[in-house]
C-alpha cells in the first residue's frame, strides 16, 4: 500500500469517525426532543389518564359523534 493510499485511508477514517459522532449527537438530540414531547403530552393528558378515559374511544361512540355534531351546529350559529 502506497504512502498516498495510507494517507487517503486515514483521512477517510477521520471523516467517517466525525460523521459517526455527528450522527450520534443528532440521535441524542432526537431522543431528548422526543422524550420532552411525550412528557409534555402526558402533562396535558393528566386528567384523562387519571380518570382512565380514552377520549378517542369516547368520541368514536354514538354519543361522542352526537356531541361533535352538536358542537359543529353551535359553531355555525
Amino acid at each position: 500500500v502506497s504512502a498516498g493510499e495510507v494517507a487517503r485511508l486515514r483521512e477517510e477514517n477521520a471523516r467517517l469517525r466525525a460523521r459517526v459522532e455527528e450522527v450520534e449527537r443528532q440521535l441524542g438530540a432526537q431522543a431528548a426532543a422526543a422524550n420532552a414531547a411525550i412528557a409534555a403530552a402526558q402533562d396535558r393528558a393528566y386528567w384523562l389518564d387519571r380518570a382512565r378515559v380514552d377520549l378517542n374511544a369516547v368520541m368514536a361512540s354514538r354519543a361522542g359523534r352526537a356531541l361533535v355534531a352538536a358542537v359543529r351546529l353551535l359553531r355555525r350559529r
Binding site: V20, E24, R25, G28, A29, A31, A32, A34, N35, A36, I38, A39, A41, Q42, D43, R44, A45, Y46, L48, D49, R50, R52
Partner: protein
Amino acid sequence: MSAPAYDVAWRVLREGPAPLLAGGAGAAARTPLHVAVVLPSLPVGSGGHTTTLNVVAGLERLGHTCSVWVLEERTGRLEWPAALRRKVLDHYAPVRAPVFRGLGAWYGADVAVATSWETAYAVAALPACRARAYLLNDHEPEFHPTSVERMLAERSYALGLHGLAGTPWLQERYAEHGGESSPYSYGIDHAVYHPRDVARRRDTVVFYGRQATPRRAVPLGVAALAALCRQRPRTRVVVFGDRAGPEAPFGYENAGVATPDALARLYSEGTVGLCLSLTNVSLTPQEMLACGMPCVDLDGPSTRAAGDGGAVTLAPFDPEAMAAALARLLDDEAQWRRRAEAGRALVAERTWERTATEVEAGLRDALRREAPVA
C-alpha cells in the same frame, strides 16, 4: 410478578440477554445519553424509588435525557401513563422524563437500567440498548423465603448487567455472583431534611416501625422500646412508617405514613431515632442525622460496612442492649451532642447531585465494558 414476567425470566435464563447494539464504548463519553429506567411498580413512600427517581432528576440536570418505564402488575390496577408521571412529580422528584406503563412502547436507549430483580430480567430481554445496568438499592434475595422468587432474585445478579451499588456491602453481594459494579452513595434532599425551627425535646424516641417490611426488624425495636419504657416510664415514643402502628406494651404516638416535610419536623423535635435494617442500610438514618437527631441502627455487616459508626450508634441484636444505647443518648447530653454534630458532618456532603454524578460515571463504565454483539 405476572405470568408473562416469569416467562421473560425463564427465557433470559435459557437464552441469555438480548444482543446489545454496537457502539457502546464510543458513546461512553457522550452527553446526552438516553437512560431508560425500569421500575417494578410505583408505590408512594418507597426509599428505593426515592433514590432511583432522584438519580433520574440528577442525570437530567447533568444534561442527559431519561425515560421511566413501570412494569404492569398482575392486577391491572396500575395507573395510566400521564397519571404515573404526575405521581412521580408529586411524590418523588421533579423529573422531565416521560413515564410509561409497561414496556410495550419501548423505543431503545443508550443504557437500560434495572432497579429490582423483576426488572433485571425485563431489562435483559430488551432490544436496542447499548448497555444495561442494575441499580442496586438492597439485597433483594433476602426479601423472600426459600422460593422461586428468591432463586430468581439471586440469579438476577449473574445476568451480566453492570451493577450500580449503593453501598460497599451491596457491591460485595453482587460480586459474590460474579457481577461487576460501580459504587455510588445515597443522597439527601437538604432543602427538606435540615433542623427545623421547632424546639428539640429531651424525652422523645422516633421509631421507624413499618411492620409490613420484615427487614425493618420491628419486633426487635418494639422489644427494645418496651425495655426502655420500663426503665424510663416518661419516655415519649413516636412511631412512623405504617398507617397502623405495631402492637406494643407501651403507649406511643403514631405519625403514620408521614410526608418528608412532616418527617423533617419530627426528626428536628425528637431526641434520638431508632431505625433498624436487617439487610442494606436505608435512607432514613441519614435523613435523621441531617435534621440533627442522632440515630441507633442494628450492628450488622451492612451497617458496619457503611462506615457511619462514628455518627450512627450501632447496637447488637439484643433488646436490652439496644435499650441501653437509646438510654445513653437520652440521658447523656454530651454524648448526644457529639453524635448529633458527627451526624450532621457525616451527611453534609451527601447530596443527590453527588449521587447523580457517581451514577453517571457508573453508566459510562457500563457502556465502556459492553462488547458489541450485534
